[in-house]
């Protein structure tokens, strides 16, 4: 177990985002220490994906701070003052945060190996053959060493998601975000993806996982967060969260997913 005196690796404070007149995130606060796994539950439309996209710097927050390893993300230091980072600066900061999507979003025009190697070569400027070696190794790690020359359309959903995990992992991010990684999968393919995620957690990867898989949250998460209409309404260790949820909305949500 990680002692609680350690500084958080990632902390989010007062994070807010609106689309037009709709306030989707209403000032969210939480933090995660290195090696921790947080599971996020919440009804569809409660703003979970929006929060992950903000942390991954895929969209700009209206308000609030994201601090990763002591560095504030989304801003650039210009003459001693924090100003909004440019697209290029954001691209650079995104290297430290990995993201796995519900729909996998593998690049259909590349085989599995090149999906994993692409960002290594063009973002991290690793030499081509070294990148391909690292990619092959990462595909081995997710159990797809024998599928490296298959194109996404030739892989099952579960295999595609494992390639997507390898693609994020190969860049060695400090934190990995998962947005309902098994929601688009047939039930019989969910297990293979969860197994990979569990082994990452066991290896000490820091992960934030939006999921409806209660079993996974119970087994793997250090803490479970309940999202409701743009706010975190409950936050507890799995035993407390599932055993004696404090909030009425949490109880009602849990009675629906089980």
């Amino acid at each position: 177990m990680i002692p609680s005196t350690i500084e958080p690796l990632l902390s989010v404070s007062d994070l807010a985002k609106s689309y037009g007149a709709n306030e989707i995130l209403k000032g969210v606060n939480f933090s995660i220490k290195a090696g921790e796994v947080k599971a996020i539950l919440g009804a569809s439309g409660s703003g979970k994906s929006t929060m992950l996209r903000l942390i991954a710097l895929l969209e700009r927050a209206d308000r609030g701070e994201i601090v990763l390893a002591g560095r504030r993300l989304g801003v650039a230091d210009r003459a001693g003052k924090d100003t909004a980072a440019s697209e290029r600066q954001l691209a650079h900061q995104r290297r430290d945060v990995g993201m796995v999507f519900q729909q996998f979003n593998l690049f259909p025009h590349m085989d599995a190996l090149h999906n994993v190697a692409l960002a290594l070569t063009i973002v991290q400027k690793v030499r081509k053959h070294e990148a391909l070696e690292a990619a092959a190794e990462m595909l081995n790690r997710v159990g797809l060493g024998n599928r490296s020359h298959k194109y996404p359309r030739e892989l099952s959903g579960g295999q595609q998601q494992r390639v997507a995990i390898a693609r994020a992992l190969v860049l060695n991010p400090s934190v990995l975000l998962f947005d309902e990684p098994t929601s688009a999968l047939d039930v019989e393919l969910v297990g293979e993806v969860l197994k990979v995620m569990e082994s990452l957690a066991a290896d000490g990867m820091t992960m934030i996982v939006v999921t409806h898989e209660i079993g996974f949250a119970k087994r793997v998460a250090d803490e479970v967060l309940m999202f409701d209409r743009g706010s975190i309404i409950e936050q507890a260790d799995p035993e407390t969260f599932f055993g004696s949820p404090a909030h009425e909305r949490t109880r009602s949500f849990l009675s629906h997913v089980r």
């Binding site: 991954a56 895929l58 697209e87 290029r88 691209a91 650079h92 995104r94 290297r95 945060v97 990995g98 993201m99 999507f101 729909q103 979003n105 593998l106 690049f107 259909p108 025009h109 085989d111 692409l118 960002a119 063009i122 973002v123 991290q124 020359h149 298959k150 194109y151 996404p152 359309r153 030739e154 997507a164 693609r167 994020a168 860049l171």
Partner: protein, 248 residues
């Protein structure tokens, strides 16, 4: 008057027709290449979100899709030199005038093809690329454009075929492409059928070649491992049985 096969054959194999065909192909291909480059810029302008760029590019597409190509050729060849003295030089040949006209027209059509191809790439693709740290330009070049090309190939093939046929309009500005060649044969012999038929054969052959190349290209964009050498051997089991089943 019967169809005189030897007149037809002499026309078909004459150097005039070959050079007419070469000129038509050169004009069409150049107009398509330049039109695609210009069309790409117009497509970017149309989806830039900047109001004046969107308006300007919208007007461009409206004008060049709206005017008959024949009128644009006549404007470029006859009207433009009256207004712009620099165009009265020798260098402004019928070929140059035709190339400019067809390029301007094709740019308008290609802009629409490219814009809709870019729009139809799944939004999750650039999102995933950006999440990996790719810059906007890298995202465009490595992820979005390759997928847009696949979508744009069939309509672009049709546009190339259209352009090849549109080169015949340049006969009105006396460019010695295929139709002008046929016309000059006709004007001395009045053998319409033979000279026109020879031109028709050239167009059909050119268009057939374009069609074949297009389907080869489409096969390259299937994005499966089937065409890899290692996977090309028939696999044992159901695959082989299926093949036999379809042949029977």
């Amino acid at each position: 008057m019967n169809f005189d096969f030897s007149i037809f054959w002499n026309a078909l194999t004459s150097l005039n027709y070959v050079s007419g065909a070469v000129l038509a192909i050169l004009l069409a291909v150049l107009a398509m290449v330049l039109g695609t480059v210009l069309g790409f810029l117009i497509a970017l302008a149309r989806s830039s979100g900047k109001r004046w760029l969107v308006t300007l590019s919208g007007v461009y597409v409206g004008v060049f899709r709206g005017l008959p190509t024949l009128l644009i050729l006549l404007l470029a060849w006859n009207a433009a030199p009256q207004l712009i003295p620099a165009l009265r030089s020798e260098a402004y040949s019928p070929f140059v005038a035709a190339l400019i006209s067809l390029t301007l027209v094709q740019a308008a059509y290609m802009a629409e093809i490219i814009r809709s191809a870019l729009l139809s790439v799944d939004a999750g693709q650039p999102l995933a690329a950006r999440a990996l740290g790719l810059t906007p330009v890298q995202t465009m070049i490595r992820v979005v454009i390759p997928q847009a090309i696949r979508i744009a190939i069939p309509p672009t093939g049709s546009e190339l075929i259209n352009t090849i046929k549109y080169t015949s309009l340049a006969s009105v500005i006396s460019l010695r492409e295929l139709l002008t060649t046929a016309q000059s044969g006709v004007s001395t012999t009045f053998r319409y059928a033979e000279f026109y038929a020879a031109a028709a054969i050239y167009y059909l052959v050119i268009v057939t070649v374009v069609t074949v190349v297009q389907s080869q290209l489409e096969r390259k964009f299937l994005w499966t491992s089937k065409d890899l050498p290692s996977a090309s051997q028939p696999e044992p089991g159901t695959v082989t049985l299926d093949l036999k089943g379809t042949k029977a």
